[in-house]
């Protein structure tokens, strides 16, 4: 609670300090890059599934940093401050498998995060061409997870597929360095996202995805991690 008050005061100070320079411009940013994620529960589930294989399989990928992109529309509220809203997307996944001459067995997980939220940016250093800003966003994070297991042994094959979903709030903070070319700016942004985790539920029946070793515990998605993205900004005259 105390931290929240400090953050609110800091935000108010920033806004007041820049209020004498009201602007009217709108802008649109696109960014694409890489984001990491913790996904500890899903890594744990992946290891559990691997342990149920009748043979010694291997985890060939376990939620590595993968594609992340975002689109944001903002208003230049003051010289130093932009506010807006946007959509962000991240994806990652994991796979465990085993294959020999007699057949193969594999389990694939694909996780996707769709985030909608508010955006705030504060210009720290501004030059003719180069701008350095700090930014943050508060988002609602919808995670979709598909879990597919499949085997083919000699002439027999079978598979199972389940889809899960979770909803969680997430907060991100970072910085961006942009180089301005007339109506367009190019640069990069980096930061850290904290996902407050969301319990995964089956999309068909709403059943929670529980820990196979402790059915009282519901597994959750966790997109907490860093991100690095190339960014383009286009100024709009609305």
């Amino acid at each position: 609670m105390r931290k929240r008050i400090i953050y609110t005061i800091a935000l108010a100070v920033l806004l007041v300090s820049a209020q004498n320079s009201l602007g009217q411009d709108w802008g649109l940013t696109f960014s694409a890059g890489v984001a990491s994620s913790q996904m500890n529960d899903l890594k744990y589930l992946q290891e559990h599934i691997l342990s149920t294989y009748p043979v010694e399989g291997k985890i060939t990928s376990s939620f590595p940093p993968f594609t992340s992109a975002s689109i944001t529309m903002f208003k230049q509220l003051y010289d130093h401050i932009r506010i807006g809203g946007g959509y962000s997307y991240s994806t990652t996944g994991g796979k465990s498998s085993y294959a020999d001459y007699s057949g193969d067995i594999s389990t694939e997980m694909n996780a996707t995060s769709h985030r909608l939220g508010a955006y705030l940016s504060y210009l720290v250093l501004g030059g003719d061409r180069l701008d350095l800003s700090l930014n943050g966003s508060l988002e609602a994070n919808l995670t979709s997870l598909s879990l597919q297991s499949y085997y083919e042994i000699l002439n027999y094959s079978n598979g199972i597929s389940n889809n899960y979903r979770s909803l969680s709030p997430s907060v991100s903070a970072g910085g961006e360095l942009m180089y301005t070319l007339k109506k367009i700016s190019l640069g990069m942004e980096a930061g850290y996202l904290v996902d407050l985790k969301g319990d995964l539920k089956d999309t068909d029946d709403g059943d929670p995805l529980v820990d196979p070793n402790d059915t009282e515990r519901v597994l959750s998605s966790d997109w907490t991690g860093w991100y690095v993205r190339l960014k383009a900004l286009i100024w709009l005259k609305l």
């Binding site: 694409a32 994806t91 996944g93 796979k95 057949g103 193969d104 996707t112 000699l154 027999y156």
Partner: protein, 146 residues
């Protein structure tokens, strides 16, 4: 020049679309190291008989022992007819004279399936088996019954 810029960005965008969906095509490939092959020993009550006769019916008693492996299944067929199947390594069944159309010697086939010990995926889930087929000549003696 300006007309090429949107085309360039469209191509760039399309070429990056596949990266929006996570996928991993890698499979962990293994060459299983086979263990020692199991040894199957089978004995039946027909072993010591020469062309045992099937007058009305004939009982066949068998026992299979698999050393270093697991017994899966036994099938028996005669006159192109499956007459017995079991997952028990010890048992018996009857050959009925009505199976044959005429008198004479025919062959009883007994197929024994047991573990392969190849340590492959199919072996581990009991889908892969070694097979041993035993043949016994039996004499259908229909006499006046047909």
């Amino acid at each position: 020049m300006r007309t090429y810029i949107p085309i360039f960005f469209t191509v760039l965008l399309l070429s990056g679309l596949h990266a929006c969906f996570y996928s991993d095509s890698l499979m962990y490939e293994v060459e299983p190291v086979p263990g020692d092959p199991p040894i199957l020993s089978v004995s039946t009550n027909l072993d010591t008989l020469h062309n045992p006769p099937v007058n009305d019916s004939l009982e066949v008693i068998y026992q299979a022992v698999v050393e270093g492996g697991e017994f899966y299944y036994v099938y028996a067929d005669v006159v192109n007819t499956l007459i017995f199947e079991s997952d028990s390594s010890y048992g018996s069944f009857w050959i009925d004279s009505v199976l044959a159309d005429s008198s004479g010697v025919d062959t009883l086939y007994m197929e024994f399936y047991y573990s392969s010990n190849t340590n492959s995926l199919a072996d581990k889930v009991n889908y892969e088996a070694r097979t041993e087929i035993l043949k016994y000549a039996i004499d259908f003696n229909l006499g006046g019954t047909k």
